[in-house]
Symmetry: C2
Subunit: 472 residues, 2 copies
């Protein structure tokens, strides 16, 4: 994940080739190390001097990436071994997952070569790696969302790279991703062990179609979840899923319930799909855990408030009625039409000072373990008014400045109180008013169910970590 230099096979000056796209992404993402394209005929590739073979490079190479036709992979890997290379990413497909055409034998061959030379490798049949800490993106997809503290290892290449546009749209950042492909060598267990010791990764995601070493998986996961949450998707169960999975990564899948049990035993939280996994990891990687299950709902609109309360209870939390003391303190702050029992419903209140005072009062009451907020609209909705009232700009400017300061202070609350805060909003993450919340490390969810489920995952992980990872 931290190579100083990379040798790359399969890039040329043909822009329609996968290898060329990957090399362009390595260069474009801003990787600072040395990059050596290897090509039999070209003298330069993407403006870099190209080498005929690995022995021509003449400088130390930490990592090789092979985006080559299946049949030539063993020979090249052998050359790499002879050149003393110890790390490889093998993108090429056509191995174990292609059972009919000698792929199984070819895969055995590359494993044997790797063992002989002490090479550890990702793949084959994977899409590459991404490490935002050294701006390294060797996948086919440009513009990964750099930053954050989520580590993700996946038996699906699409889920590591193709989701970049979705992540950018949601404002979720990725620290590191690894596409493990057929797991001929490095597998999910290795990735777990790696992420456990990677200080910048705070929460770990896994996309699973099979677990090839269940015993080792349970051991590694239990150890990992003592300090970092692990969230997994499993989609190998079922008839068609198994068929698909076999042809995808050569994996033999097990019944859903078996994997459910395996994850529970390991302290791994199961998510139902990639979107839910990201919802969970987003919160888990940024927010303090709720010490208990009592959640406050603060809203300025009834429907979202009722929905949040409903889904929190469905997800195993409580939305307790506040004490009389707290209610009367809140009532002093709010006006005639507000309800302060929990949910606290301000009914179309736009006064941000009030939001802030309420949150302060609720967080410091000792009556809740976290809070969910609906009612941040930003100022996008004023568009029609600006046209009609040019003078509105003068009223708006201080109002917006005040709004931004409120958001800044709001985003500090979870850290200062040691209690989590999520926001529910139907406004796109890139909008003014919402973007600063995301930049302030408070996750923003587009539905009450998703926000509540993420809070449920936080509560659950708190219990897992509290028990030293021994129970799910």
């Amino acid at each position: 994940m931290y190579p100083s230099s990379i040798a790359f096979w399969g890039a040329s000056n043909n822009p329609m080739k996968m290898g060329t796209v990957q090399l362009a992404n390595i260069l474009e993402t801003g990787f600072k190390g040395d990059v050596y394209p290897i090509h039999p005929t070209e003298t330069t590739v993407l403006g870099l001097p190209a080498f005929k073979s690995i022995s021509d490079v003449g400088r130390p190479v930490d990592l090789v990436q092979l985006t080559l036709p299946t049949a030539v992979v063993p020979g090249i890997l052998e050359e790499c071994g002879k050149a003393g290379i110890k790390r490889a990413v093998i993108i090429s497909g056509g191995f174990k997952e292609y059972a009919g055409g000698g792929g199984r034998e070819l895969e055995r061959e590359i494993v044997e070569i790797a063992r002989r030379y002490g090479i550890r490798f990702l793949g084959p049949n994977c899409v590459g790696i991404f490490n935002s800490l050294v701006s390294l993106n060797s996948t086919t997809i440009p513009r990964p969302p750099m930053g954050g503290s989520i580590g993700f290892a996946s038996q699906s290449g699409a889920y590591t790279a193709m989701i970049n546009p979705m992540l950018r749209a949601q404002g979720i950042k990725m620290c590191q991703t690894m596409s493990v492909g057929n797991e001929a060598d490095v597998d999910l267990v290795d990735c777990l062990e790696y992420f456990k010791d990677e200080p910048d990764v705070k929460a770990i995601g896994l996309y699973v179609e099979t677990i090839r070493r269940p015993r080792e998986f349970v051991k590694a996961a239990r150890e990992t979840v003592k300090t970092k949450p692990v969230v997994a998707i499993y989609v190998g169960g079922g008839e068609a899923g198994s068929r698909s999975s076999l042809s995808h990564t050569g994996a033999l899948t097990g019944p859903d319930e078996v994997y459910d049990g395996l994850f529970r035993q390991s302290g791994v939280i199961r998510a139902d799909d990639i979107d839910q996994m990201l919802d969970f990891l987003w919160a888990l990687s940024m927010q303090p855990l709720p010490p208990g299950d009592r959640i406050a709902v603060v809203t300025n609109s009834g429907g979202p408030g009722t929905s949040l309360a409903y889904h929190l209870e469905k997800a195993g939390m409580s939305v307790p009625l506040f004490s009389e003391g707290l209610r009367s303190r809140l009532k002093e702050l709010t006006g005639r039409l507000a309800f302060v029992g929990n949910p606290v419903d301000l009914t179309f209140e736009m006064d941000l000072t009030l939001f802030e005072q309420l949150l302060q009062e609720i967080y410091s009451s000792g009556e809740v373990d976290g809070a969910l907020l609906y009612g941040i609209f930003g100022w996008d909705f004023m568009t029609n008014m600006e046209k009609r009232f040019p003078a509105l700009k003068q009223i708006q400017e201080p109002w917006i400045a005040n709004y931004e300061k409120f958001l800044e202070r709001m985003c500090l609350m979870p850290k200062s109180f040691g209690l989590p805060l999520f926001v529910l909003s139907f406004i796109p993450p890139s909008s003014p008013g919402i973007a600063p919340i995301i930049d302030g490390d408070v996750p923003v969810y587009p539905s009450a169910r998703r926000a509540a489920a993420a809070m449920g995952a936080m509560l659950r992980y708190g219990r897992i970590a509290g028990s030293g990872g021994r129970t799910g």
Copy 2:
């Protein structure tokens, strides 16, 4: 929903007032009828001549909207009655939902006035109406996503208007929405009966915290679902949800299971939250129903394919292995590395002609009742390449033109075969490559679970409609 003229109370020339914002939205959305602001002191409001009272208007008024302090509502409503007005939208809150402060009595008073003068009204405590067919938006939120054929009635105002930005981001259009508020007069049963006979509405959504007339609801729903699907969210169950709901719309909620049964009995499909309701309605309003449960999955990437298969089976559908005949016809079309059993996995194939031929072959085989497709990436991912290969533009242009033609033909397939097609994609709906699909009335979902659940809702509605609406 189709007024020729509207009289509006509560708008002024103060841009920070809710009524002003609503009137600006009526004007800005492009409503073609006459609009008469009523204001005690202003001579013009938002550039329109203002009237001191309804009797000063001197022209016929079809609809009034009242965005006024609670206490003055009865008096104004009485004036409207005397002026012969028969339809009203009452935005003002502070009625039944505010039990402590005389709100209940005030609500009884307006109901009594309305009965006396034969006025039918929405609200109080609602956010207004939206009818894209006459460009009428009387809510506080600008830029509703006009068009489409979804009708939505809601006991939450936020869910009818505040979701506009989310709808726009997803590419979902709304035909008509009604915020029913406290339902002092017009309630969800009335809305159902209205939508049933509205030719441009093809699928109906309901946000429910309580059903005040269960017997009439079941009757109206059963009648409606014979020709149009109805999807409902219910979040009134649970302890905190009930508390919140009572203060929100003055509604007494029932246990979750009771409502579950009520919906089943009525042939109403229950969704778990607003995002799922929209997912379901999007497909139901645009796509042909699957005649059975056999779904084809076509993908160029294993993970999304396996995920689609898994979630389709979880949602009660089958992803059957194709017959030998069909498999060999597909194998002829695809190459060495493709799998054709179902899922059909092309493993990073970008040849669109192939996608098209496969879909044609599968749709015409008689072996499936619908299809889900993953693998439309558009050309956004080429960004890095364009910079490095200026000549790429010449290769790209015909390629993109070809892509767009393929998408156009693909979007016609559901209609020509009478079978549904959904797309799974992690690329934002506004991207080139995805936008034409949405414009072509094929829904695009951002997760396998969401796509599969929507297909499940389609299958379920087919069975409900087939049985004349009598079973859920």
